[in-house]
């Protein structure tokens, strides 16, 4: 076994201002949600890709994201039992485990991460981007909650471009289907200037997020753009885009990251700061949440930093230049939805991953293929071969699941990673060049 190359220990890790801020924000959000029955706040359930947080806030609704609940349940090791519960109630073992974790949680009393029951949604905002499973997921929830369900379809960017027909379709849906029902459910009249204000704030935070993600171009990278990146995207992908809290959070975070760059420090991990960056990787696909720390440790123990990832783009591809635009409020929401990573065609995904390898000077690509996620996984083997061909950098493939612990095999993944790092070494020394 190789010795850990980490020098700093957990005791040395001081909580950064951004981390404290994020914890407070998340706790506050779940309290707002679980206290909705007392406060009378109305709740909208919706999804991360295609999240219309600014619009939801225009109606004073509290945003509940089932995927984030599934992640929380994965991290807290509860998702396994929930998934089994859903399967016992008739769901197939073959389908998306996010859905089953959510349904299982509902069947077991819908207890949120703060230990209190989550309220029934007042409206299901089926803003559907980049994955067909969302359609079925909210049909399933509608069957249980019997609440109004609003539908917003995002056309797929199959030809690598956004056409006027796509934008018009989405704006029409927003105007004629989404906004009127949100007004009705909430009793709040839509005010486009309020939306503009939120969008303005979104763009400020988005600038800082991009600066943080792109800081990984430094050597060493001050951040891990996958494992760490998941924490960084939380507020903007979730219920905070468009708020002052998000602006503050990303300002703190950016300042911290800039300080790390100045000091030449690597990323913060659960075991302290990484002191030696041996490998720089680009990762495609979601992580595993049931064994998140163990999974991450397999990387930092080897000195591997993820410098760019596609998963941190499922809630927006801001690094490709998109910003919410208060001058074109509804069009901008449409464009935002259209641009999310999983709504991009396979060739676009290949371009993006190859660009990342070049721009972030990465050693190669690693794909974590999620067993139950067709949206990400179907086509990944071709992505792997194509990126390898274009960049000349080695690629590797591992398999796990987002929230189903049955599909996490630590030993297998570790073996694969070890061989992969050897491959990278060989490539560097020129020995693998002919392969």
């Amino acid at each position: 076994m190789k010795p850990s190359i980490l020098k700093a220990q957990p005791a040395d890790v001081q909580k950064d201002a951004s981390m404290i801020k994020q914890k407070q924000m998340m706790a506050g959000h779940y309290d707002r949600l679980t206290s909705a029955p007392e406060t009378g706040a109305k709740v909208a359930s919706t999804f991360v890709p295609g999240n219309l947080n600014e619009l939801i806030m225009c109606f004073d609704l509290v945003n509940n994201l089932p995927e984030v609940n599934a992640i929380q349940n994965g991290l807290r090791k509860k998702s396994g039992a929930y998934i089994m519960e859903a399967e016992r109630s008739g769901h197939s073992e073959d389908v998306c485990t996010y859905v089953k974790s959510d349904i299982g949680m509902m069947l077991k009393g819908n207890i949120g991460p703060n230990g209190k029951p989550l309220p029934k949604p007042d409206v299901l905002l089926l803003s559907y981007t980049g994955c067909f499973t969302f359609l079925k997921w909210f049909e399933l929830l509608r069957e249980q909650y019997k609440c109004p369900t609003i539908f917003l379809q995002t056309p797929y960017m199959a030809d690598g471009k956004i056409t006027p027909n796509m934008i018009q379709y989405m704006v029409k849906q927003l105007k004629e289907n989404v906004i009127p029902v949100l007004e009705e459910v909430s009793g709040v009249k839509f005010d486009i200037d309020r939306l503009r204000e939120y969008l303005k704030k979104s763009a400020v935070a988005e600038d800082d997020l991009v600066a943080v993600l792109q800081s990984a171009k430094n050597k060493p990278s001050p951040i891990d753009a996958y494992f760490g990146g998941i924490y960084y995207i939380g507020p903007i992908f979730g219920a905070f885009r468009g708020t002052d809290d998000a602006i503050d959070y990303y300002r703190f975070l950016r300042a911290e990251v800039e300080e790390r760059i100045a000091k030449g420090l690597g990323p913060v991990t659960p075991d302290g700061t990484m002191s030696e960056e041996k490998y720089r990787l680009v990762v495609e696909g979601p992580p595993n949440y049931t064994n998140f720390r163990q999974f991450w440790k397999m990387f930092y123990d080897e000195g591997a930093t993820v410098v760019a990832s596609s998963y941190t783009k499922v809630g927006g591809t801001y690094d490709y230049g998109f910003r919410h635009n208060p001058d074109k409020p509804l069009e901008s929401l449409a464009e935002y939805c259209l641009n999310v990573y999983t709504n991009r065609s396979l060739p676009m995904r290949i371009d993006m991953l190859s660009d990342y390898i070049n721009e972030y000077e990465a050693d190669g690509l690693l794909i974590n293929s999620i067993k139950s996620c067709n949206s990400f996984s179907a086509g990944q083997l071709l992505i792997m071969r194509e990126v390898e061909k274009r960049t000349g950098k080695p690629a590797a493939f591992i398999e796990s699941d987002l929230v189903d612990p049955r599909y996490f095999s630590g030993a297998n993944i570790k073996n694969r990673l070890e061989s992969y790092f050897q491959m990278v070494e060989q490539k560097r020394s020129g020995r693998g060049a002919a392969a």
Binding site: S92, F132, K136, L140, Y169, N374, S377
Partner: protein, 391 residues
């Protein structure tokens, strides 16, 4: 000329079904210079537009159980259904090398992503992901859909090297209306007298429609109906069931035969929805693209790949199909790893439960070999239906 017998017609259909080089479509293309073939996957594309461009629409439903998948598995993890890998196999092995375009309908994430893969693997072929609205208001989904169809028409015009007129489309709508009527008659016959038109035969007749020019297929369906009606076939003590969930990856033919052998009369199914997607005639006067959009929005089939905006309507299509065909039960047969079918299934089952309609469920893949378990399960189901109805 005497009318062909059912066995002659079915032999011809079987030949088309078995021919994974699609010789009849190749021959059609070679018969005249400049002809083009546009292939498409399940579940629905407006074939009228392809036809109006003077091209042959060719339905590709994967490779079935007779295709040895050699390359395809290298493109897909074990936990993804089989149809994309056998379709890639068809492409990589040169079986589709005569095809000028490949259309990927908006059915699920697997087919969607396959559209991008096809672009990478076959850059010389016209590839289109055909997006359809999941909202059904004229002004919203309708406008979008018309826009998508117009874009498709522009592409087809470029491929054909000529303009496609409204009259061309109207003529195509007319021939497809005739085809839809013939198929509706076939389904009515099977529902009324399933012993006269067994499911495995009806299946092959329908499959032929994915390969043959539509005019030829309409004749074939009429011929089959006439022959099936004329033939004396014994009535068995079978139970009438509806098969659902088979809208994309197809079951091996043996599976359908096994269900029949275990005592099922299949009186409705969702096999080749492209041929039955639009219910009834599409009007031929006025703007033909608008008419196609109207039919899509307001007169089309329900399936798992479609969003149901009205909760009260969820699954009712199945209840209605049971009532209309006099079915005694429903068999949910879904492809392994098929998210749309498998996520939809519990909701449909709840609807059937509420309507007191018996059902069973199993999974299959296009290359399933072992029929014994399915035969046993279906046999038990049939027995229990008989017990219930006797009680």
């Amino acid at each position: 000329m005497t009318n062909p017998t059912t066995s002659e017609i079915i032999a011809r259909c079987q030949e088309l079904y078995d021919d994974l080089r699609f010789t009849s479509a190749r021959d059609w293309k070679d018969a005249e210079p400049g002809r083009k073939v546009i292939a498409h996957m399940p579940i629905y594309v407006p074939r009228e537009l392809i036809h109006a461009a003077g091209m042959l629409p060719l339905g590709i439903m994967g490779g079935g159980d007779n295709l040895e998948v050699i390359h395809g598995d290298a493109y897909y993890q074990s936990y993804i259904c089989r149809i994309p890998r056998s379709t890639i196999e068809l492409g990589l092995s040169g079986r589709l090398d005569f095809v000028d375009g490949m259309i990927f309908p908006s059915i699920c994430d697997v087919i969607r992503n396959l559209s991008g893969m096809w672009k990478m693997l076959f850059p010389e072929v016209y590839v289109k992901y055909f997006d359809v609205p999941q909202t059904y208001d004229d002004d919203i989904g309708g406008t979008f859909y018309i826009g998508e169809m117009r874009e498709f028409l522009t592409d087809l015009e470029a491929l054909a090297g000529r303009k496609i007129s409204d009259d061309d489309i109207r003529t195509s709508i007319t021939v497809y209306n005739e085809n839809r009527r013939a198929i509706a008659e076939l389904y009515r016959l099977r529902a009324a007298k399933p012993w006269q038109a067994p499911a495995s035969e009806a299946y092959l007749v329908m499959r032929a429609g994915l390969t043959l020019p539509v005019e030829d297929h309409t004749r074939l369906v009429h011929d089959y109906i006439a022959a099936a009606k004329a033939e004396k076939r014994p009535i068995k003590d079978n139970s009438r069931i509806i098969l659902t969930g088979m809208f994309c990856e197809q079951p091996p033919l043996n599976l359908i035969k096994s269900l029949e052998l275990s005592g099922c009369y299949v009186v409705d199914d969702d096999f080749m929805l492209v041929s039955r997607w639009l219910v009834g005639d599409v009007p031929t006067d006025g703007d033909p693209v608008y008419n196609l959009s109207q039919a899509f929005l307001h007169q089309s089939m329900s399936t798992a790949a479609k969003y149901e905006p009205d909760e009260a309507e969820k699954g009712q299509f199945l209840v209605r199909a049971v009532r209309d065909t006099g079915a005694e039960g429903v068999i949910f047969a879904s492809t392994s790893f098929c998210d749309p079918a498998l996520l939809d299934r519990p909701m449909l089952q709840n609807v059937l439960k509420a309507a007191d309609i018996p059902y069973i469920a199993f999974k299959y893949s296009e290359n399933s070999g072992q029929m014994q378990p399915i035969r046993e399960q279906a046999g038990t189901f049939v027995d229990s239906i008989k017990l219930w109805s006797a009680a």
